[in-house]
């Protein structure tokens, strides 16, 4: 049984902090939580809402209804009331919200509170949110103790007086709501759970795998990696640097990686565009670095605080020419942690750029972890040579595609890493050798060698597997996968059986395995791109045409309801 709370107001109303207290109260009671923060590209005045879905089972999406709605302003009531479930509760700040012409669903209770006034009485208008939290907490059946626990954790450092005032505010909220019946009871269901957004997951994974350098330029929805690492980096051995732009970012990261650090950088589409030239340079010079690209609504500045999955081709087409790069797309914060580890290790061992693709929804939505985060036991730095023995050929032609490398500072193993084409010994062939008969072969051998990295890596990576027993195959990538899973479960209840395929590693790609899986099957692609970038990619890899698709590109995350509603007519078509 899940419960969904939504808090809405205008930017500057403290919507997110209000929501976070509630979300944390649940996660600390052992609930699974999905806490999505919806905002606009403006600092004050825009419409903001925070959606908290909790359950004893893992939560896979933000859901499609609201059980308890908190309206800090009138617009919230207008926009969100239609989603309130039968028997739900609407809490509203009476000084700003007029529910008289808002249609509430059958049996919905309505609690007017004067949180602002109450807060001022207690001593500070800033406490209004806590008053509201109290009212919502009552409505949703949370024990005051569990909310106090969060307040203590959050404000404890600010002194007893502060905590005490917050408690008062909270009690006031409970009091406001006391006349309605809680929709259900929420007590402890297990040990506290960590509540982690996807970005923090990636950062934690990278740190577990020995990250020592992170550079970035602020850009939503990647900025929180910078904020988080700037905070924890100094105590965890990570140098963190905000550069003058994304070109500086990626090049500093390449410098650090070449010097021998484990290095990562993060950005969103516009910044990635600026990085593409240097990513190709890393491909050529064989420098391993991780690039996190958190996608948002495009093109261009687009919808900077909304979600989309339409940078696939940008990542695949990054930089001129042909060179190997890897691309992994995690689906939730736990998976983001794993991808952070894998990307960091693979970049270093394969000496090539590795993308971690996230999106606004995954990057900024806090979710509880349903499994422990596995630790990293040892670091394998790959083909690092520490002492000169015989000839050292930095770009030696090998079967794996990976050449031995030395870490600057090591005696006798000096070499020049160049963006021009070069021979095994790192000597340029672009200047006085290009086009000469020998150099033609050198060139081809180096191109082929670099390309072999992806073949070698592919063998390490598990092929994707189909979930489910029967029915058409629904394909997605990244953060859409869990939502799709929930949608499939709903459809199954309605008698529509489906299967699911999640493409986690986009590069290298298990072409043969996927082609075999899809050959002769009915399959659909569910993605947040108007042109169907993933669908195009699947066709490119397999030659197979999808039967249909569900695409979303209005900036909102998929919900199970969105998928089932849009998928239903497609299945009917096929059946008909």
């Amino acid at each position: 049984m899940d419960t969904i709370i939504r808090v809405g107001g205008s930017a500057g109303d403290g919507v997110a902090s209000t929501g976070q207290i509630l979300a944390r109260a649940f996660s600390r009671l052992g609930y699974h939580v999905n806490a999505y923060n919806s905002y606009q590209s403006v600092i004050r005045g825009g419409h903001v809402w925070y959606n908290i879905r909790v359950s004893e089972e893992p939560v896979e999406s933000i859901g499609d209804r609201i059980d308890v709605l908190l309206c800090i302003d009138h617009q919230t009531a207008e926009v969100h009331a239609p989603l309130v479930a039968e028997g739900g509760v609407v809490v509203h700040e009476a000084s700003k919200v007029d529910l008289s012409d808002i249609k509430l669903p059958k049996g919905a209770a309505d609690i007017g509170i004067t949180a602002l006034e109450a807060a001022k009485e207690i001593g500070s208008p800033l406490l209004a949110n806590v008053v509201a939290v109290g009212a919502v907490a009552h409505a949703v059946g949370l024990d005051p103790e569990s909310v106090r626990d969060v307040i203590q954790a959050q404000f404890g450092r600010k002194g007893e007086k502060m905590v005490e005032m917050n408690y008062q505010a909270l009690d006031k909220g409970y009091e406001f709501a006391s006349q309605v019946e809680p929709i259900r009871k929420h007590g402890r269901v297990g040990p506290q759970r960590a509540l982690i957004p996807g970005n923090e997951g990636i950062a934690l994974g990278a740190m577990a795998a020995g990250l020592t350098f992170y550079a970035a330029y602020p850009m939503t929805p990647a900025s929180t990696i910078l904020h988080y690492l700037a905070q924890v980096g100094p105590d965890n051995g990570v140098v963190v640097k905000q550069m003058e732009d994304e070109i500086g970012v990626v090049n500093a990261t390449i410098g650090a990686a070449w010097a021998g650090a484990r290095a990562m950088c993060g950005t969103s589409g516009g910044g990635l565009a600026l990085m593409t030239e240097a990513i190709g340079f890393a491909g050529m010079a064989e420098v391993g670095l991780v690039i996190v690209n958190s996608m948002r609504g495009g093109p261009s500045t687009g919808l900077p605080t909304k979600t989309e999955q339409a940078d696939l081709w940008q990542m695949l087409g990054a930089g001129q020419g042909d060179y190997p790069k890897a691309l992994v797309a995690p689906q939730d914060p736990h998976d983001a942690y794993l991808a952070g580890i894998e990307a960091t290790e693979i970049a270093d061992r394969y000496q090539m750029p590795v993308f971690v693709a996230s999106d606004f929804y995954l990057s900024e939505t806090s979710m509880t972890l349903d499994k422990e985060l596995p630790p990293v036991d040892a670091i394998d730095r790959g083909a690092v040579v520490e002492k000169k023995e015989g000839d050292f050929l930095r770009y030696k032609i090998t079967d794996t595609g990976v050449s031995p490398r030395s870490i600057p500072g090591t005696p006798e193993l000096m070499f020049i890493a160049a963006s021009d084409e070069h021979d095994e010994d790192a000597t340029l062939i672009s200047d006085v050798l290009a086009g000469l008969p020998n150099s033609l072969k050198v060139r081809i051998d180096q191109v082929d060698k670099r390309a072999r990295k992806l073949d070698t890596l592919l063998k390490e990576l598990p092929a994707p597997e189909i979930e489910g027993e029967t029915g058409p195959i629904l394909i997605s990538w990244g953060s859409t996968a869990p939502i799709l899973r929930e949608a499939r479960r709903q459809m199954a209840k309605d008698g529509v059986e489906t299967r699911q395929l999640t493409l986690r590693w986009i590069l290298p790609f298990h072409t043969d395995a996927v082609r075999e899986m899809l050959e002769g099957e009915t399959f659909y692609v569910i993605e947040a791109s108007s042109s169907g970038q993933l669908e195009d990619y699947i066709r490119m890899r397999t030659g197979l045409w999808a039967t249909g698709n569900v695409r979303r590109y209005d900036g909102e995350p998929f919900t199970p309801g969105y998928i089932t509603t849009h998928f239903a007519p497609l299945v009917q078509e096929v059946v008909a």
Binding site: V239, A252, T253, W258, G260, P375, P408, G409, A417
Partner: protein, 297 residues
Amino acid sequence: MAETELTVKDLISDTKPTWCPGCGDFGVVRALQTALAELNIQPHDTAVISGIGCSSNLPHFMTPYGMHTIHGRLLPVAMGVKLANPELTVIGTGGDGDGYAIGAGHFAHACRRNVDMTYIVMNNQIYGLTTGQTSPTSGEGHTTKSTPGGNIEPPFNPIGVALAEGATFVARGFSGDPKHLQALVKRAIQHKGFALVDVFSPCVTFNKLNTFKWYKQTIYNVNEPPKDMDIEPHDPSDRARGFALSFPGQDRIGYGVFYEETGKLTYGEQDPTLHAGVNPVHDVKPRDVRALVEAMK
């Protein structure tokens, strides 16, 4: 670093320079090799980072570790190298187009950031490798492939920008004055903090205006001005005068040390992680993140 005493030969690689005979850049690589040898900085402890251009081929002609990066990006790459391994001596080497056109943004920021490294710009006032277009330092009126009617932009002033941005060592050399240049490069490497050495390094193939001869007639040592100019020798601690001297005066252009400031903390000394003693290269190891996860409960 108490290894065997280095000689210039130890700094010369097997790759024969591909520059045109007579190119000013020969003097620059030689000055750098000499300075490193004299300072006895081992090639394996040195990283020479360049961009793209004739001048940026320089690292190939030396024995240290090196990166020949992409056009205009050597400064952020070099900064990444230095922050990742503060034990390395980091030298950036590039051209005027590389550093002051496409690289101008990084340049201004590197100057204020005070990363401990040396940046040598082979300023030939032209684009050499792309066969002779206007560079940001080309003079007004210069006719080039991209300005056949004459350049209409006043030249970029790297000395002035470096001073404005608080660079702690700001100098200019001339590859036709090798002794001065060698001393300058040595001093720049020894300087703790970001050191700019803009070097007039004539392109004998594409710049028929700013030739060795032209420079010899046009430039003067600001620290030891010729008598006929009747000006005071410049004191490198005087930034405001350094700025005034960064513009041509009496139809002459200054070289020498425009500014030197010692004692300012470098970026690396202030970075909280490095300050805590971390070496991002040697300290790559698995990290236990359980406490961090705990904090998110």
